[in-house]
């Protein structure tokens, strides 16, 4: 069985972001980088499936500069067999349609039985790439899965809807699934597996070989949102802060009435 999992390297969302000089994205300097959280669940599900079916080959794909190889190594240490690194130093300027086209171009002649992606990235958050890859490849797809069962080419998933409701959906491989938080418990790579991962294949492919489509949108501007008018910021010693807050709650709310 051939499985592909697509991941993205993103900044830690707790970072202090700055707008870059072009004014169209965040400044990459001084950020801590990690695997997109949703993709960790995708990698874990792909690895679990590989372990379930036995005879399989699991490729992890990531687009970006050489820096993303660090994140790919984590996926390899979690259990992916090989890495396909699409080398693109300008990845942040690509829009979802282009990113999906690059992945689809890579995947189109490789007959993957299943493709996993995160449901969205933490930085762009478009939620489009996974579904667009499926559309490019003509595969059925289900987004936002929180449960996955595979047996003999048949797949049963649960999609997360609003208010804690889930939709149960069945489909057949080949297919693409986008993964939601809580789908599984992503494993921590063990030291032996980290060592083994260093020997796994990690091939770089220039993005120029795979990008065949024009951008359909571009970023006009990136900026910090305005804070809510009148929002009060309290700072100081906790004892004093507690008194201040109680006073405010007495004046503005009826909770002590």
């Amino acid at each position: 069985m051939k499985i592909l999992v697509c991941i993205k390297q993103v900044p830690d969302m707790e970072s202090k972001f700055k707008v870059d000089d072009s004014g169209t994205w965040y400044d990459r300097a001084d950020l801590a980088w990690r695997m997109n959280e949703y993709d960790e669940y995708a990698v874990e599900q792909a690895v679990q499936l590989k372990e379930q079916v036995g005879d399989s080959d699991l490729t992890v794909l990531c687009i970006g500069g050489d820096q993303v190889k660090e994140t790919m190594k984590k996926a390899l240490a979690m259990g992916c067999d090989r890495g396909a690194h699409i080398l693109d130093d300008e990845v942040s300027t690509k829009e979802p349609y282009q990113i999906a086209s690059i992945i689809a171009e890579y995947a189109q002649d490789k007959s993957f039985d299943l493709i996993f992606t995160g449901m969205q990235s933490q930085d762009r958050g478009s939620g489009q790439v996974g579904i667009l890859v499926a559309e490019f490849l003509g595969l059925p797809s289900v987004s936002t899965i929180v449960d996955f069962v595979y047996e003999d080419g048949k797949i049963d998933v649960k999609r997360e809807l609003e208010g804690g409701v889930k939709a149960c959906v069945g489909l057949s491989a080949p297919a693409l699934l986008t993964c939601q938080l809580g789908l599984n418990t992503p494993r921590y790579p063990t030291l032996p597996n980290i060592m083994k991962a260093k020997k796994k294949e990690l091939l770089s492919i220039p993005v120029e070989d795979l990008l065949k489509v024009e951008a359909r949108q571009e970023t006009a501007r990136v900026y910090f949102p305005e804070k809510k008018g009148g929002g009060l910021v309290l700072e100081g010693e906790v004892d004093q802060l507690a008194d201040q807050l109680i006073q405010i709650l007495k004046e503005k709310t009826g909770v002590f009435a």
């Binding site: 478009s126 809807l161 208010g163 309290l234």
Partner: protein
């Protein structure tokens, strides 16, 4: 400008987001037409034209089928924009429709600036304006971002459409949220725990403050996913949408999905060490403090009132 607004229907109910689509359309100064896979018994109360596919013939959501129905209407009506809610229905279907139309898609629009859609990025810490380069566009709207001053009224002009397509996925049923336990929608005070509480033992501290305030405690998604708090206490788009008199967000940075579930609260207090956390956007008061020091002191003082 002409907009095709995609209303939603699930399990026998018209979902509430349709009026926000209309509000967006009015803000864009557009002429609008609705599309719904649903039932004549539950229609949006508006004066617009509505294309209706019968849900009893279509079954519950099927992406291949709904995509085909919408693309057929687009070909007939030639709208400039197809508009979805950024919901589990919208974010799943919109990219499929955009792909079929060769249109650009912009997800989770929160505002429009000089005709350019604005979306949140990086967990809502930044805003991005997206210039669309295709003639047709598909957008999804963040829940609560667009609202009407008054509830619309009227009866739409219905044109029924027939269904003859099948899909490659099969809907086999709904699994409802765990029932029983707490109903946060009824609580007048909610104190919620976010990732910032650090460890499961600290849930009790949050619950203690909630008790002191005569309310209930809730949690954000990461805390529920870590199984520190049960799912029926989750606040957010995939948990419960709440609107208490007082909402206290402890150690919650303010992911979009969480904000969407609590921003209608009457008075919002956030406790966070990060002065720039996105929760500050909606908070009436942001207490910049380590919640592990602040919450016990606050609880004790409230208890001694």
């Amino acid at each position: 400008m002409k907009l095709l607004l995609i209303a939603e229907y699930r399990d026998g109910q018209l979902l509430a987001g349709w009026s926000e689509l209309l509000a967006f359309s009015r803000e864009m100064g557009g002429e609008s037409v609705f599309f719904l896979v649903g039932s004549e018994e539950h229609l949006p109360t508006c004066d617009e034209k509505l294309y209706l596919a019968d849900s009893s013939a279509c079954g519950e959501y099927n992406p291949d089928l709904h995509k085909k129905l919408i693309v057929d209407i687009v070909n007939k009506e030639q709208p400039d924009m197809v508009v979805f809610s950024h919901s589990s229905y919208g974010w799943d279907l919109a990219p499929r429709v955009a792909f079929a139309l060769g249109a650009s898609q912009v997800s989770e629009v929160v505002d429009v600036s000089d005709g350019v859609p604005v979306i949140p990025v990086c967990n809502s810490k930044l805003r991005r304006e997206v210039k669309i380069k295709t003639d047709q566009a598909v957008v999804t709207l963040q829940a609560g971002a667009f609202g009407l001053q008054e509830e619309p009224s009227g009866t739409p002009t219905v044109e029924k459409i027939s269904v003859d397509a099948a899909g490659r996925t099969t809907f086999t049923g709904y699994e409802q949220a765990e029932s029983g336990g707490v109903d946060l929608a009824k609580a007048s005070v909610i104190v919620s725990a976010g990732r910032g509480i650090g460890k499961p033992e600290n849930v009790e501290m949050i619950a203690g403050l909630a008790r002191a305030l005569g309310g209930e405690y809730g949690a954000s998604r990461p805390v529920v996913d870590s199984e520190w708090v049960e799912h029926n206490r989750q606040v957010g788009t995939t948990g419960q949408t709440v609107a208490p008199k007082l909402y206290v967000a402890c150690g919650i940075s303010g992911a979009i999905q969480h904000l969407a579930g609590m921003k209608k609260s009457e008075f919002i207090v956030a406790v966070n060490t990060d002065k720039d956390a996105p929760v500050g956007e909606v908070a009436d008061v942001l207490v910049v403090a380590d919640l592990k020091q602040f919450v016990p002191v606050l609880t004790e003082k409230i208890e001694s009132l």
